[in-house]
């Protein structure tokens, strides 16, 4: 009874958020003989799907992937049928991750009601592909590559990981899902150095601990990981760990005083004894100065709104004393830094508030440090509903298709409902402006975009303005 209740809420969540039909992982070599098909399926969501239906879906994908391999050395990426779209991702040889979304295919009756409403609701293939990729990278960060696991373990491991992952994944058709980037905190150099010197001092005094990330609210200040891993950890923190923490902080008013001094939030219960060290999670990450991925313990510490992540080499003999001393060291310093940053943020907010807000929306993305900025608030609580799904879809396709913009290029697209979407790229940066203007002409749009560019891209080389 309880079980079904939970499932039903789970269902509605997924159904509301996205049109995900199914998500599965398979490896054909795990059950090569006929009759062993079920063994090939490492994970299948939704889990209530009948075994036969699972077998059929996976069988179809296997066939398509195999069939396509005769035409191209590149692995197959997508399949579209009248009702479904399949996206394939092969992160490791033989391991396929598949995401299936329903396409609300247009019948005559539907099209009479609204103009191709359905098409707009489909998740863009590039967004789906990115979703698969981040699902894999998250697994890899916490569990390592699939191939590390023997066949008898892999089913449990995948289930343990992906079942909660999928239920917690808050998927909306939002600009932050279209372009996966990192929100950096704009900080003056002196405050930045305060953070950096704090990290240096900490690492020098506690050589086992290496700071891999410093986040204020949801904005990144310092990163010590290689670029791809940086995004994965950032997403984990911002989408999963921190929202839970913030919720806890809001609920537990009494612990406010303790939070001022900071505490370990990963493991989530904190570290209060030697026994708690057993709860530390290991992660597979590549640090910035490293050449390969290694396994580390992940430690996260938080004071006020500042969150610091550390890695500790897995071979280190962990002692509770180390953590207690670290806590005593970080606590007061970090809260001082957090207050400095908070002051800076207030100043910055005042400053930006004074700038004349443009009524037009823009999106900025730096391909190299994954910096991402938008004119509407990034907060998921206030989704940028103003960006219509069609527009998002267009931006998604410009973003995913590097050819359309090239390294130095510009494109202006007008939608039938008077949206002008300008995409520009220069010096490894992308900039999108969305203008809704019924009676504008191309020149007016170009001028307006140039104006926004000049205001937003001050001090960097961004051609053509």
């Amino acid at each position: 009874m309880i079980n079904s209740l939970r499932n039903s809420t789970f269902y509605t969540m997924i159904d509301v958020k996205a049109k995900i039909n199914s998500f599965f992982i398979f490896n054909s070599s795990f059950g090569p003989r006929e009759g062993d098909e079920l063994q090939r399926i490492l994970f299948y969501h939704p889990s209530q799907t009948s075994a036969d239906a699972q077998k059929m879906q996976v069988g179809l994908c296997e066939a398509v992937v195999k069939f396509m391999s005769t035409f191209s050395s590149e692995p197959c990426e997508a399949l579209q049928t009248q009702t479904k779209r399949y996206i394939f991702y092969q992160p490791e040889k033989g391991y396929w991750m598949v995401l299936v979304v329903r396409i609300p295919y247009t019948t005559k009756a539907l099209s009479a009601i609204g103009e191709s409403r359905g098409a707009a609701d489909i998740i863009n293939p590039s967004v789906m592909y990115d979703l698969l990729k981040s699902a894999y990278k998250m697994f890899r960060m916490f569990r390592g590559p699939f191939k590390n696991y023997p066949i008898e373990e892999i089913y449990t491991i995948c289930d343990q990981f992906y079942t909660p992952y999928i239920s917690s994944r808050n998927l909306s058709n939002d600009i932050t899902d279209v372009i996966q980037g990192i929100n950096y905190l704009p900080l003056d150099k002196n405050s930045f150095f305060k953070v950096l010197c704090f990290i240096d001092l900490l690492e020098v005094n506690y050589p086992h601990f290496k700071c891999i990330s410093f986040i204020y609210n949801e904005q990144l200040i310092w990163n010590g990981l290689s670029t791809p891993d940086m995004l994965t950890l950032y997403q984990y923190l911002v989408q999963s760990l921190l929202p839970k923490q913030v919720e806890k902080e809001i609920q537990g008013g009494a612990v406010a005083a303790a939070q001022r001094h900071g505490r370990f939030i990963h493991p989530p219960e904190g570290i209060h004894s030697q026994a708690d060290l057993q709860k530390l999670v290991k992660v597979h990450l590549m640090r910035e100065d490293d050449k390969e991925t290694k396994q580390y313990y992940l430690v996260v510490y938080r004071t006020m709104s500042a969150t610091v992540c550390f890695t500790v080499d897995e071979n280190v003999d962990l002692q509770f004393e180390m953590f207690r001393s670290l806590d005593a060291f970080i606590g007061p310093q970090l809260s001082a830094i957090a207050s400095t940053i908070s002051e800076q943020c207030t100043l910055h907010a005042l400053h930006t508030a004074q700038l004349a807000a443009s009524e037009h929306k823009f999106v900025y993305f730096n391909r190299l440090n994954l910096a991402f900025k938008t004119s509407p608030t990034l907060n998921k609580l206030h989704p940028s509903t103003a960006i219509k799904p069609e527009v998002l879809s267009i931006i998604a396709s410009i973003h995913s298709d590097k050819q359309s913009l090239g390294n130095y290029g510009e494109i202006i697209i007008k939608t039938p409902d008077e949206y002008w979407i300008t995409g520009k790229s220069s010096n490894e940066r992308e900039f999108y402006v969305i203008i809704q203007e019924k009676n504008a002409n191309l020149k007016e749009i170009a001028d307006e975009v140039r104006r926004i560019c000049e205001a937003q891209m001050k001090g960097i080389f961004f051609y053509p303005m």
């Binding site: 930045f192 150095f193 240096d200």
Partner: protein, 639 residues
């Protein structure tokens, strides 16, 4: 508290000059006099009959001669040009008289004369030479300034001031004489400059605690003149007297020195004072230690008084040697003169006290390293020791990162103040100077200095990245532009140590100023680190290096981007050679199979020709014929 020990440093921060000036020791037939104005020791044997020897630290000021014994000598001094010798004798029942002997080439001539002071019943307490051919008699009735006319064997009175005086103190460096009146409650300074007597602001002391002669000195310190007074605790009423303080009261000097400085010795007993390199040295006989006080240290005045404690814990001076023998130190027979003379009359030695800067860092509590560096920054020979300290801190950055950061702050704050003052001086003239408290900038460590004397020697150190970061952070805290030398060291350190991400983060926050050399260094990293190239291009653009941006884009096979960038830059576009652009565009068009890359550039150039010359065609000298052909070829309609 852990202590920092400067490697290979001597233990002592004060030493006596290596070779003392020797003279015949004080004895029943020999009298020794010291003139601190000329730094000369007079040894008078048998009243001068068997000879007078004059020894100065400066060999050219040494001489010897004979003279008649006309009675016991109280004071004997040369004029500043060593051409007149003045002698004051103890002649009871006679008028207050000073004798003069003209000298030539440090040898007496037979020209002798004398002069009696204007007050008939006065007692001459002493005389001083404020300048060549000017002498001042200090008597119990007042002071009289006289001009000496050696050729005429006469003295002419210039000025006199009545003042009832018991004793006086003289400072030859500032020509200020301090008269003690009212039993040592009132101290009245007079300036004897400009051939006149100027009465200065009197110093009034607590009437219940008058001072005695041996407790008062006039010091020249930090370009100001001070009256130093030993304030002993009320020993009469208290059985266990409190420690002695030295009060420094300003007499004259640049504005900014208007507070009384109180030096807390924490000791009782017999003291003497020297000044070495603008440090007040307080010698304490009982403990055989000498304390150093730096009145320029940062401290907050409280009700008009600034309190100081010694810069370092009190320590003995380095034991002096006389041949193979150790000299007794802090002996009873020592006499201390200003500014830095010490005489042992029994041994017949004249020394000068000197500062040994490295000794200050011989053993320092960890959290006082920055304070010691600050003290060294104000010393004439401090620079070398500062480099040694910083080098050692960098090598041991694992334990001294915080202290290193503080030391960088001390160094940069001094440099910053100096730079500000220089700027003010250059823009507003001298007027501003008077308004600010004076600073002395004995040691300035510029960014190139720090790089060449410190940072460059640590390429293999474990914590180089953290050290360089701390240095740049300190520069930023002091609002100083990171100069090329420091930027170069930073880039090299961070890149070679796998901290390129840190470099980029710092660049993005504007920590390293924009400069062409920096942009070029980043560009050269671009092949390994595309993000560095991105920042380099941004920087060149901010520096208005449009030609460079165009060149870079061409080298990246982005001819269309290059044209666009050049067009935005204005003049750069008009000056670009068409052949170079067309060649690059053609190469890209062919390599990528994108003929539009060529046609776009080609059209842009035709437009430019049209605008500048009124005709779209290329000039013959531009040698573009082959590209015109190529254009025709790729745009030709397929047959």
């Amino acid at each position: 508290m852990a202590r920092f020990r400067l490697k290979d440093s001597v233990e002592y921060y004060l030493a006596l000059s290596d070779q003392p000036k020797r003279f015949d020791a004080d004895s029943p037939v020999t009298n020794v006099f010291f003139d601190d104005s000329n730094g000369q020791v007079f040894t008078v044997r048998s009243g001068g009959v068997t000879g007078v020897t004059v020894n100065g630290m400066d060999e050219s000021k040494s001489t010897s001669f004979r003279m008649e014994d006309r009675g016991p000598i109280i004071s004997i001094k040369f004029s500043p040009d060593l051409k007149i010798l003045a002698i004051q004798r103890n002649q009871d029942n006679q008028n207050a008289t000073v004798e003069f002997v003209n000298f030539k080439d440090l040898a007496p001539t037979n020209v002798e004369y004398s002069h009696t002071c204007k007050w008939k019943n006065a007692k001459i307490l002493g005389f001083v030479w404020p300048k060549v051919n000017e002498i001042t008699f200090i008597t119990d009735h007042g002071i009289e300034l006289l001009q000496v006319l050696p050729e005429k064997k006469q003295l002419k009175s210039l000025k006199n001031t009545s003042f009832s005086c018991a004793w006086f103190s003289w400072c030859s460096q500032s020509n200020i004489v301090l008269l003690a009146g009212n039993n040592g409650v009132l101290l009245q300074p007079f300036s004897l400059n400009n051939s006149t007597i100027t009465k200065l602001q009197k110093l009034e002391l607590d009437a219940s605690r008058p001072v005695v002669e041996r407790d008062v000195f006039i010091l020249r310190l930090c370009d100001a003149t001070w009256c130093a007074v030993f304030r002993h605790a009320h020993s009469a009423t208290v059985t266990a007297p409190g420690p002695t303080e030295v009060w420094l009261m300003p007499i004259t000097g640049p504005s900014g020195f208007h507070y009384t400085h109180v030096l807390k010795t924490g000791l009782v007993g017999r003291f003497a004072v020297n000044v070495v390199d603008d440090l007040v040295v307080v010698h304490h006989q009982a403990s055989q230690t000498s304390q150093l006080f730096d009145i320029m240290e940062e401290s907050r005045p409280e009700s008009g008084v600034v309190i100081h404690i010694p810069c370092v814990a009190g320590l003995s001076m380095q034991p002096a040697r006389l041949g193979d023998l150790h000299c007794p130190m802090y002996s009873d027979t020592w006499v201390v003169f200003q500014p830095d003379y010490i005489i042992d009359a029994r041994l017949g030695c004249l020394w000068r006290v000197k500062l040994v800067p490295e000794g200050l860092a011989h053993s320092v509590p960890k959290d006082e390293i920055a304070k010691i560096v600050a003290v060294l920054l104000r010393r004439t020979d401090g620079k070398d020791t500062i480099y040694r300290i910083v080098n050692q801190l960098v090598t041991e950055a694992g334990s001294y990162l915080v202290q290193l950061s503080q030391v960088f702050d001390e160094i940069n704050s001094v440099y910053r103040k100096w730079a500000e003052l220089e700027m003010a001086r250059n823009t507003a003239g001298q007027a501003l100077e008077a308004a600010r408290p004076p600073h002395n900038f004995r040691v300035l460590v510029s960014q190139p200095d720090m790089c060449s004397h410190v940072l460059q020697h640590h390429a293999d150190d474990q914590y180089l990245v953290q050290v360089v970061t701390a240095y740049i952070a300190s520069l930023c805290r002091h609002d100083m532009v990171v100069q090329q030398a420091a930027a170069e060291v930073t880039v090299r350190a961070l890149v070679t140590r796998g901290a390129a991400g840190r470099l980029r983060a710092a660049l993005r926050r504007g920590a390293l100023g924009d400069a062409r050399p920096l942009a070029c260094a980043l560009l050269s990293l671009g092949h390994m680190d595309p993000a560095a190239a991105q920042l380099a291009l941004d920087m060149l653009w901010r520096l208005r290096g449009y030609e460079e941006v165009v060149e870079v884009l061409l080298s990246w096979n982005e001819p269309v981007g290059a044209v666009g960038a050049a067009k935005q830059a204005g003049n750069a576009w008009l000056a670009l050679a068409p052949r170079k652009l067309l060649a690059a565009a053609r190469a890209v068009a062919e390599a990528r199979g994108e003929p539009t890359a060529f046609t776009a550039v080609y059209h842009a150039l035709l437009n430019r020709n049209e605008r500048t010359r009124g005709s779209p065609h290329f000039l013959k000298g531009e040698q573009c014929d082959s590209y015109v052909e190529y254009y025709k070829q790729i745009t030709a309609e397929p047959q």
